[in-house]
Assembly symmetry: C2
Homo-oligomer: 400 residues x 2
Amino acid sequence: MNCRSLPHVSGSTQRRGSLERLRTGNRRAVTGLLATEGPLSRADLARGTGLSRTTVSSLVRDLIESGHVVETEDRGTPYKGGSGRPPLLVRLATPSGGVAGVDVGHRHVRVAVADRSGAILAEAETAVDVDAHGAGALDEAAKMVRAMARKAEIPMTDLQAVGMCVPAPIDRRSAQISSGILPGWRDLVPSEELERRLKIPVVADNDANLGALAELHHGAGHGTSDVIYVKVASGLGAGIILGGRLHRGTTGIAGEIGHVQLHEDGRVCRCGNRGCLETEASAPRLLSLLRPAYDDDLTTERVLELDLLGDAGVRRVLSDAGRTIGRALADLCNSLNPEMIVMGGSLGSSPAMVEGIRASLDRYAQPATAAAVRVVSGQLGDRAEVVGAVALAVARVGAI
Amino acid sequence: MNCRSLPHVSGSTQRRGSLERLRTGNRRAVTGLLATEGPLSRADLARGTGLSRTTVSSLVRDLIESGHVVETEDRGTPYKGGSGRPPLLVRLATPSGGVAGVDVGHRHVRVAVADRSGAILAEAETAVDVDAHGAGALDEAAKMVRAMARKAEIPMTDLQAVGMCVPAPIDRRSAQISSGILPGWRDLVPSEELERRLKIPVVADNDANLGALAELHHGAGHGTSDVIYVKVASGLGAGIILGGRLHRGTTGIAGEIGHVQLHEDGRVCRCGNRGCLETEASAPRLLSLLRPAYDDDLTTERVLELDLLGDAGVRRVLSDAGRTIGRALADLCNSLNPEMIVMGGSLGSSPAMVEGIRASLDRYAQPATAAAVRVVSGQLGDRAEVVGAVALAVARVGAI
DNA sequence: GTTTTTAGTGCATTTCTCGGATGAATTGCC
DNA sequence: GGCAATTCATCCGAGAAATGCACTAAAAAC
């Protein structure tokens, strides 16, 4: 049987078959190398891409002409230390226009405006009761994007994409929030709502995924490729990076580790089940455990301070929470054999919690698996989500 | 800081940068299409690849000359039913030479010899006490490979690679078995041992990974890309396919779901821990549960028969085991949001077990996650491992 | 000051693809 | 039976892109 109706291969961006596609590919190789390695000479680029010096020169000439790349003033040193003509370094031109990242938490909205390479130019945070007022939070976010764009001196018309972080899983197909966790957001498609307000393309993803992306590119996970990012905040979620790419799952809701059931007859969880991990080890739960013995206004910030000061009670509670989370992570590590676990969220930087997780991994994971995985705190703190949102926007418009 | 020591990009197979690479890429597009769609005319290939008819003609001429492709005798019908010159169909030449797959279980060795497209030509199984006699099992495997090659009329010198299945995780770096589960195999590098006996390149992987690969390409998972294959046999393991590719993990030992701890004070497991999933739901455990009520010589085959006949006791035990395994899978599904779970191994085809797993997923996984995942029995039965081993060997020598 | 070493750039050459023209083989219509 | 229509395959010239080589430039080493 012949297959008569083979679909025409869409020529991706422009033409069909391939010859200028070869050139675009090579151009991409050059810009990609410049993006990851910083300023390089043409000779470096030739070595790095495997292309001939002639070709690279020609490509760079094109790229300079089109404004994607500029020659720097300072010359580097020649190849192996010593002699030879010093190279002329080129770097990516700071692309015109910019992007924005919006992080919508349960109680705050944080916005950053960045240039198209992802370098953040202006950033601000406002306290908003997002859970109660979904639409109001989006109004506020739109206002802040305009304000930050003004501060960064980027006209709104030059803003090319917005990345958005929401504290709930998003269904890949409908772009809707896929569970009833955010009561004030029912039947809202967050990306569309913000897009309607800003008239700029908006892409949304959940907080754990974006935190994972941020730590992978600009934080603790730099240089690794199999990372589990765990966000411990009002909820508990994971962003899973496998082979250097975010794993979103079939319908886009992967990473829901907060609802592993620990106790058949445990506390009732907002998900409707009982005894979920989230009911035992989320920030609100830990605060409610600690407050009777400390202060009714105890905050997570204060808890972290006490942890660093060596307060035994706080360290015990955080360590126990780490052990509890570590139980679940041990199973996940047995399945995925990752390279690193990055702890994020308001309590992710707690040393006691990291120790607790480490202890559980050593206790419950297979020895070879436990030995392969490092457990660290994230480096971006509560900025992780917004940095990830910016990264998402940068990815959307393309690095160049 | 400049990056002076950029690694030279190895020109993959032959030359350097990219011009004949363009052609090799196009050649691959043609052969790829032929591999998936069967015999096609040059015009079909042009439509399918997006290349021009001229280019395809030229590529096909080269491929015929190099023996990768042959023209068929029968002509097809022209494009849209009706008139026009009938096309000359071409198909992939049956590649010369062959590959072998070796499945080493705990109590058997199974060997298949296939042509280079993966079509199995000869296959046999022998009972061997592998656990006790590691070296003897390898001798037997080598003998069987020679015998099957003879039966398939492929001279040993034409056998180009061997894929090997071992019932234990393999460390990616050392190629050694990474836990003490197989006592008779300590300090053996299985692939090297078999390679020494056969003088043919051997690649090894564990049973769950190869079963997953087999079901993905030639079984229940055909057409999907995020699949968890669960093997229920003397142990319990998983092969995890994400994005159409096997996820092996940082050190290659991903998929160890058998050692999720269910009960702090449960049975002692061969891994040294207590209360592992494997102690509750492996084939030996289920048989030991059933034997007192049935027959001291009860086999897994008989158990499956009784399941299909509707025997209440057997169905209850298998269903409970499925629920237990499903508990662990629910957590994994929450993390990975897969499209399908394929049950393999000697008990994977049990309907009662599949029902039990389904029940646990619906009970313990997030509703959206549970709704997204299908649970099915594998289609390859106890041949899955050897089919996967052949697929591994085919991948090793390249599809063409 | 000469040699050595590395960087960057023209020019001729080769490789590869594309589009149109040409020939081939079959169906359908008169 | 003959002729148009249709589809398939190939030949030929044009154009695009990468490479190798030769050449100049610029600095350090001797």
